[in-house]
């Protein structure tokens, strides 16, 4: 995750022209967000798988890749869209996001997101209501700690609902199935995870967009 963002962005010198090119920059950002999304999806999927399997057979890694191959690319695409959407909306609304714009904060955000997933996978809750409530509180806390923008919250809620709905449809049509659905074929904590994920990806996307802004301003400055 870090190496990906660390290598591509600060490359300068001969690449400066390429990077300051707007569309190229967009593509680079999109690709980075996509890869981050894929990576996180794989890892978090692994966490969820762990919950149900007590002990991994030796070739569990390959089975993860084979089970639902389309899940990680979907997550990657979604995260790329979200990560590009957030800075775009920020600039549209004219209220640039000023709160905690730095990589350490973004890292903290990602860590908390993974932690939420970890908790949902590993911690044994008494019942699902408790689990959902806890995760909801954690997600809101995540938003409050790292985002605090109304647009971020709104977008997060909307996307979370949409994603839940689409998952619901998928499950309903039998494309996909949960091992232990607890609420209308799906897991009730899904919206919270989606929300937290949207906030996290938005955070990353904004931070990446900051680079673009900086590069652009630098370029204009040079000119």
């Amino acid at each position: 995750l870090r190496s990906g963002s660390g290598q591509t962005v600060p490359s300068r010198g001969p690449y400066i022209a390429v990077i300051t090119n707007r569309s190229t920059n967009l593509v680079i950002r999109g690709f980075m967000l996509f890869s981050i999304g894929v990576f996180l999806a794989l890892v978090l999927n692994l966490l969820q798988v762990q919950r149900n399997v007590t002990l991994f057979p030796p070739d569990v890694i390959s089975s993860i890749f084979s089970s639902a191959w389309w899940v990680p690319p979907c997550c990657g695409t979604a995260s790329a869209i979200i990560g590009l959407l957030y800075p775009c909306i920020d600039s549209r609304l004219g209220e640039p996001h000023k709160f905690k714009r730095e990589w350490s904060s973004v890292m903290r955000c990602v860590a908390v997101f993974v932690g939420i997933n970890h908790a949902s996978a590993k911690v044994d809750f008494a019942n699902n209501v408790q689990l959902s409530l806890t995760l909801a509180a954690l997600s809101i806390g995540l938003w409050w700690t790292f985002d605090r923008s109304r647009s971020g919250f709104g977008l997060g809620v909307v996307i979370a609902l949409l994603a839940t709905l689409s998952t619901q449809l998928l499950v309903y049509n039998g494309v996909f199935q949960y091992t232990s659905p607890d609420f209308l074929y799906i897991r009730s904590w899904l919206p919270c995870i989606f929300f937290a994920g949207v906030i996290t990806m938005g955070n990353i996307g904004r931070q990446l967009a900051l680079y673009e802004c900086r590069l652009m301003s630098e370029k204009t400055h040079q000119d």
Binding site: L1, R2, V9, P10, R12, G13, I16, F39, V43, L44, L46, L47, V49, Q50, T54, L55, F56, P57, P58, D59, V60, I61, S63, I64, K98, F99, K100, R101, E102, W103, S104, S105, V106, M107, R108, V110, A111, V112, V114, G115, H118, A119, K122, V123, D124, F125, A126, Q130, L133, T134, A137, G141, L210, Y211, R214, L215, E218, H221, Q222
Partner: protein, 1272 residues
């Protein structure tokens, strides 16, 4: 005052006191903190070390009962995992078989074929064993652990491992437990080996699983020397039945008596397995750790502006880590045993606790004023951030408290840890980190002091002028230290610290040596601990050479057949017999009765050895056989069970004592069971000694070592990349501008790293900039057009334009004429003379001469300084000249500057148009002057007329501003116009606040100190003005000769704060000749004049303290600062240092060929620049030239010192930064594309470490953000 504010104040005060405390007693506090950390971590010693190694617990078989689920308090020594039934009871039957006596007709395959073949009968025996006592018939089928399918991924093992039945494994599984398959197998070894995984493997292999002992010890090999085959039959029992097991044991013993067996069979070992972490589980964990490290990396890199970045980063990490340890320790102390997986929650704990507070503290402390004492800085920094720290802490505690009430045990536990961690983190921040920070800041101060001390020590004894005789050849020009400024590529850079460390490592080859030493030690350990390796060999050697023979045998490897040393596990050996169920045992063999008595084991061990025929292989039983499973990989049992999806994680198995079986086969039997192909194997070479498994181990070790080395190198490479992401090779433009990495963000307001130097262009002036003044916050510049612009020194935006653009238009014609003010001045004279206002012709010439002196560029100075006696000639010339200017200039040019001076111009400033422009050139702009002069002439003579002009608020923009000073938001400008004035503007609003027009002669230099303005005039007089604020209008302004005023009181009528500027004293004849330099600092005013003298005045009472004589030319440069250092440079190229208190000359050196154009002193050195384009750095105390820097032509005069060790010089369109201590070029910043041809003429260093320089009509603001040293 609300409660909140009061609370805030109290917190702030408490933090302030605490900061004082910490900074005052750093060492005791650090000791105290370390002690408390250690105390809190002490309970951690009792925690088991993390790891996945199994834990054992041994009980006696005799009174074994399945432990209950409830914990039993009385059994203190029982581990807490010893509850409930085990997953399985493991019963192994250890078979040792040998063909005896060994015959020379036998082939190598016979060593293991027939012994292995016997396994099928044994299996049959075991499977069919039925125990029948009073309670019923029991067989293995009823007792064993039934397993179902193998995991779906294990298809290839399906043929081998049992499914849907008893978990009973033996080497027979290779042949599906069928004798026929075994007999028809042409190559047994191939069958065994074909299931082995390729390459290196660490966990249990199939062969280990089936044989039940490590592969090396099986003896199933063509090269086995001992010719004893060992294998086990492993049964997993679901329930424990002592009578059945003992009857089985007895039965096997009866069938295959182990004559010399002395194994203990009275203890069962329970093995508990920790949760195991597979690769799949590791991936999320590794991910979280990567994120954690990224977080720490991005956080700590924000630490800036301190002495040791790495030290503080380390301290921050130590703070967080030890707070974690403390929290775990404290929780353990109060009886809360952690049930969570520490490794998993650790990253989240770190993220929750966070490094933010530490960073905020650092930032707050380093942003306090640097001139304060360290204690106060720490205290201030702490108290500044106290409120936010407390607020954050309270918020986090609240959140965690909410988490605590979720009533989910895991979350509650996490929250508990987090709370204790937060509190201890706060404690550590306050005590540990603050103290470390104070030490760091103090070190920085000390470094500053160290640099300062020697210089001041040298200055203290004021040496009474160790004057060099005048005859000394003045400039030792080609100094050996001269550093020539070449093309940027050749400029050498100072090595950064990191690179030096790397070079040091490379030079000493530290890394390689450490790796080599480590490898050697590692190999040594491996060789020593290898079972078949050195230790055994050594032990054997020792025992052979021991005179006591068998005496030391107790410690020897067991195959020597001596009494083993049993682990002391409680339970006496004599109890063995009673365990054996007597009724079920048909004890026919007498040996059985006495076996197990360790005392009698030794003679018995000797017996069969003599009984057996000597050539036959020996079967001996030793201690290593008793618990043979110990030699297996600790993953053996978990992997066996995991094939059936049974996890042993956090559970235990009970291993029953092995049942020994000894088989002796006759050679005939071995030959009978031969497969036809067996004889095809060539007999092994007799001298084949080398052991293939041992070889393999060696290869493995070598491969591992190689891999580890490669990994280490890669790791170091990555580390280096991370630490030194910049390439230092390039220089110049790329070096200056491209370092715009990910800047730390605005939340904390950190300044960018040192290489982030980007010039800010301030545009707006239409003409060349003449004067620059700044007070740190504001920046005022004045161009030749007489336009004053006020800029924000931070952002570079233009705040005010004086006059307003509309007004400026009117005087645009005048502007152009100002460009060559020389002509103006010259032209004014005749007009003035005509008008009759000029007192004397001499005065005119003074003005004429003085004008160029005001300018800071050297050539003009030189020109006029060298030619003072030409004035009468010019005077007469001008008097007779007609006012037509176009006609006037050429002859004057020819007259004045012909010959030697002209040559000097050509040499010094050929390329710079901006510099040559002031000289009279027949350029188009010189057309308009007459008009302007006429208007000037109109204004000048009558006093009232001029008064009215001022009263209207439109001062004469026609006259040039010759000197300008800025203080607060007041700009004082001295003008050149025939009539002379000191004007004060409000710098922000741009309104004229006050003016004073008492003077007669043009103001050549101004100094603005506190509320006093000192103006030096062309005629050598010195005027002292006082600026009063909030006073009624000064009457002085109306003190004109006519005394009448028909206009409203001009300067201050629109303002509430009344500012007046009064002439308090005028020293009429301060100098005999024009004053060229005026400097004021530390309550002194120092003037330098063309008359070769320097005068020191006291600012308060305008009293002349000293007249310093020593130069043999006009004074061209003076430096004085708060520490009363006075240096002067003259046209003779000499530099004098003076003691301002006594008036003595401290040192006197000849530095330059030509004029000294500017002078700056630091605490240790004096930096001078001269007309010869050299910048010389002198040792201040000894007056020895340290080194010289050759500047580009025409840019020699602009230099400034940013800090004690950072010198900045102007060049052609660029500024260069030099390390003063070493004379290395640090960086060159190019100011802009348009300015390439322009030289930097003036350079001003602002307080906030910014540089302003002007080139042509543009200003450039260069921020040098991370200058650590204090500014004087």
């Amino acid at each position: 005052m609300t409660v909140r504010e009061r609370l805030r104040e109290k917190i702030s005060a408490a933090f302030y006191r605490h900061g004082l405390l910490c900074a005052s007693y750093p060492v005791p506090i650090i000791l105290f903190t370390s002690a408390s950390i250690l105390t809190c971590c002490y309970p951690l010693l009792r925690l088991p070390l993390p790891g996945t190694g199994p834990v054992e617990f041994t009980t006696s078989i005799r009174d074994y009962t399945v432990p209950s689920h409830e914990p039993q308090g009385d059994l203190g020594e029982q581990p807490d995992w010893y509850r409930g039934p085990p997953v399985a009871y493991i019963q192994q039957v250890l078979v040792k078989a040998a063909v005896s006596p060994w015959d020379s007709t036998l082939v190598p395959v016979d060593v293991f074929r027939s012994p292995l073949g016997r396994i099928f009968t044994l299996l049959e025996e075991i499977r069919n064993h039925v125990h029948n006592d009073g309670s019923g018939v029991r067989s293995l089928e009823a007792l064993c652990l039934h397993v179902t399918d193998l995991l779906p991924g294990l298809r290839r093992m399906q043929a081998i491992l049992p499914e849907h039945g008893c978990l009973l494994v033996s080497p027979g599984n290779y042949w599906k437990n069928q004798r026929e398959l075994f007999d028809s197998d042409p190559d047994l070894l191939k069958t065994v080996h074909q299931h082995e995984p390729k390459g290196l493997h660490t966990s249990a292999t199939l062969r280990d699983l089936l044989f039940g002992i490590p592969g090396i010890h099986t003896g199933v090999s063509l090269y086995s020397k001992k010719r004893v085959v060992t294998y086990t039959i492993t049964m997993a029992l679901g329930s424990y039945d002592a009578s059945f097991l003992s009857s089985l044991r007895a039965r096997l013993h009866q069938l295959h008596p182990s004559a010399n067996c002395s194994l203990h069979d009275d203890h069962m070992v329970h093995v508990h397995f920790k949760e195991e972490i597979g690769i799949a589980e590791l991936i999320p964990l590794v991910t979280t750790y990567i994120i954690l490290f990224a977080y720490i990396y991005f956080s700590t890199r924000k630490i800036d502006m301190v002495k040791s970045k790495w030290g503080l980063a380390l301290a921050a990490v130590v703070t967080v880590l030890s707070s974690l340890l403390m929290s775990v320790g404290l929780c353990t102390l109060f009886g809360l045993t952690p049930t969570l997986n520490g490794g998993e929650i650790f990253p989240y704990l770190v993220v929750v606790i966070g490094l933010e507070n530490v960073l905020v503290l650092t930032k707050s402390v380093v942003s306090t004023p640097v001139d304060l004492e360290v204690k106060l800085r720490i205290a201030q920094g702490l108290s500044n951030e106290s409120w936010s720290i407390m607020k954050n802490m309270a918020t986090e505690l609240c959140i965690i408290l909410i988490g605590y009430f979720t009533l989910v045990p895991a979350i509650q536990e996490f929250c508990l840890f987090a709370v204790v961690g937060l509190v201890s983190d706060f404690f550590l921040q306050m005590f540990f980190f603050t103290t470390v920070l104070s030490i760091d800041i103090r070190r920085m101060e000390l470094a500053d002091l160290n640099r300062r001390l020697p210089a001041e020590a040298g200055m203290l004894p004021p040496k009474p002028g160790p004057l060099r005789p005048r005859e000394v050849p003045p400039p030792p020009r080609p100094s050996p230290h001269t550093i020539t400024l070449q093309t940027p590529a050749f400029r050498n850079l100072r090595l950064p610290k990191r690179l030096r460390v790397v070079y040091f490592l490379a030079r000493t080859r530290l890394a390689q040596r450490v790796i080599m030493a480590g490898t050697v030690i590692w190999i040594g350990i491996l060789v020593y601990t290898d079972p078949a390796g050195l230790r055994t060999y050594l032990a054997a050697q020792v025992s052979e050479q021991s005179p006591l023979g068998e005496g030391g045998a107790g410690a020897l490897p067991p195959h020597l057949g001596v009494a083993p040393v049993f682990p002391v596990q409680g339970g006496d050996p004599s109890s063995t017999l009673s365990v054996l169920p007597a009724p079920a045992e048909p004890t026919l063999l007498p040996e059985n009765q006495s076996r197990g008595h360790s005392g009698s084991a030794l003679p018995r061990a000797e017996l069969p050895r003599q009984a057996q025929p000597p050539p036959g292989p020996q079967i001996s039983w030793g201690a290593e056989d008793e618990e043979g499973w110990r030699r297996l990989s600790f993953r053996h049992w978990p992997s066996l069970f995991s094939y059936y999806n049974i996890t042993l994680a956090k559970r235990y198995i009970s291993i029953l004592p092995v049942i020994p079986v000894t088989l002796y086969l006759s050679p005939q039997e071995a030959m009978d069971t031969r497969h036809p192909q067996d004889t095809r194997h060539p007999p092994p070479p007799r001298l084949h000694i080398s052991d293939p498994p041992a070889d393999l181990t060696l290869y493995k070790v070598a491969a591992l070592g190689l891999a580890a080395g490669v990994l280490l190198v890669l790791l170091l490479l990555c580390l280096y990349r991370v630490l030194c992401p910049r390439n230092y090779g390039q220089n110049g433009v790329a070096h200056g501008r491209r370092r715009r990495g990910d800047l730390p963000c605005d939340e904390y307001g950190y300044s960018p790293p040192v290489s982030e130097i980007s010039p800010l262009l301030l545009r707006g002036h239409s003409m060349d900039i003449e004067c620059l003044a700044s007070d740190g916050m504001l920046l005022a510049s004045c161009c030749l057009a007489g336009q004053i612009r006020v800029w924000d020194a931070q952002t570079g935006e233009c705040l005010t334009v004086i006059p307003t653009p509309g007004l400026r238009r009117n005087s645009s014609s005048g502007c152009w004429e100002q460009r060559d003010g020389w002509d103006t001045a010259a032209a004014v004279d005749p007009e003035n003379g005509n008008g009759g206002t000029e007192p004397a012709g001499g005065g005119v010439f003074e003005e004429d001469e003085g004008y160029p002196l005001r300018q800071r560029t050297a050539p003009r100075l030189a020109l006029f300084g060298d030619q003072p006696d030409l004035t009468p000639l010019i005077d007469t010339n001008f008097a007779s000249q007609p006012p037509s200017h176009l006609l006037l200039t050429p002859p004057r040019d020819a007259f004045d500057f012909g010959g030697l001076v002209e040559g000097a111009y050509q040499n010094h400033e050929p390329p710079s148009p901006s510099v040559t422009s002031p000289y009279p050139t027949p350029s188009p702009p010189s057309g308009p002057p007459p008009q302007r002069r006429r208007s000037l002439g109109d204004i000048l003579p009558p006093g009232p007329q001029e008064r009215r002009f001022v009263g209207q608020g439109t001062p004469d923009w026609e006259s040039a501003v010759w000197a300008m000073e800025l203080q607060g938001n007041l700009i004082a400008a001295g003008r050149s116009s025939g009539k002379l004035e000191v004007r004060l503007w409000d710098a922000v609003e741009g309104s004229l606040r006050c003016s004073n027009e008492d003077g007669i002669s043009g103001i050549t230099a101004l100094a603005f100190l506190n509320n006093r303005i000192v103006a030096a005039r062309l005629n050598g007089s010195l005027d002292f003005f006082t600026v009063d604020i909030n006073k009624p209008l000064g009457i002085l302004q109306y003190r004109g000769p006519t005394g009448r005023s028909n206009m409203p009181p001009s300067p201050c009528y629109s303002s509430e704060d009344v500012i007046s500027c009064q002439l308090t004293r005028s020293v009429q004849c301060a100098h005999q000749k024009p004053i060229t330099v005026l400097r004021a600092a530390a309550g002194r005013v120092v003037t330098g004049s063309q008359d070769h003298t320097v005068r020191v005045y006291r600012l308060e009472d305008s009293c002349c303290l000293f007249t310093l004589q020593g130069h043999s030319g006009g004074i061209t440069a003076i430096y004085i600062d708060q520490t009363m250092v006075l240096a002067s440079g003259g046209q003779d190229g000499a530099i004098c240092l003076w003691d301002v208190l006594t008036g003595n000359r401290v040192s006197h050196v000849y530095g330059h060929r030509g004029d000294v154009t500017s002078l700056v002193c630091t605490t240790s050195c004096v930096i001078s620049s001269g007309l010869d384009d050299l910048i010389c750095i002198w040792d201040r105390s000894t007056g020895i030239k340290i080194y010289c820097i050759q500047q580009e032509v025409g840019c020699g005069a602009s230099l400034g010192v940013i800090s004690e060790s950072l010198l900045v010089t102007g060049g052609q369109g660029c500024v260069s930064f030099w390390d003063l201590n070493f004379g290395d070029l640090l960086q060159t910043v190019y100011l802009g594309q348009s300015s390439d041809g322009q030289g930097v003429r003036q350079l001003l260093v602002l307080d906030n470490a910014a540089i302003v320089c002007d080139f042509g009509s543009e200003l450039s603001l260069v921020h040098v953000p991370s200058v650590l040293e204090k500014l004087d």
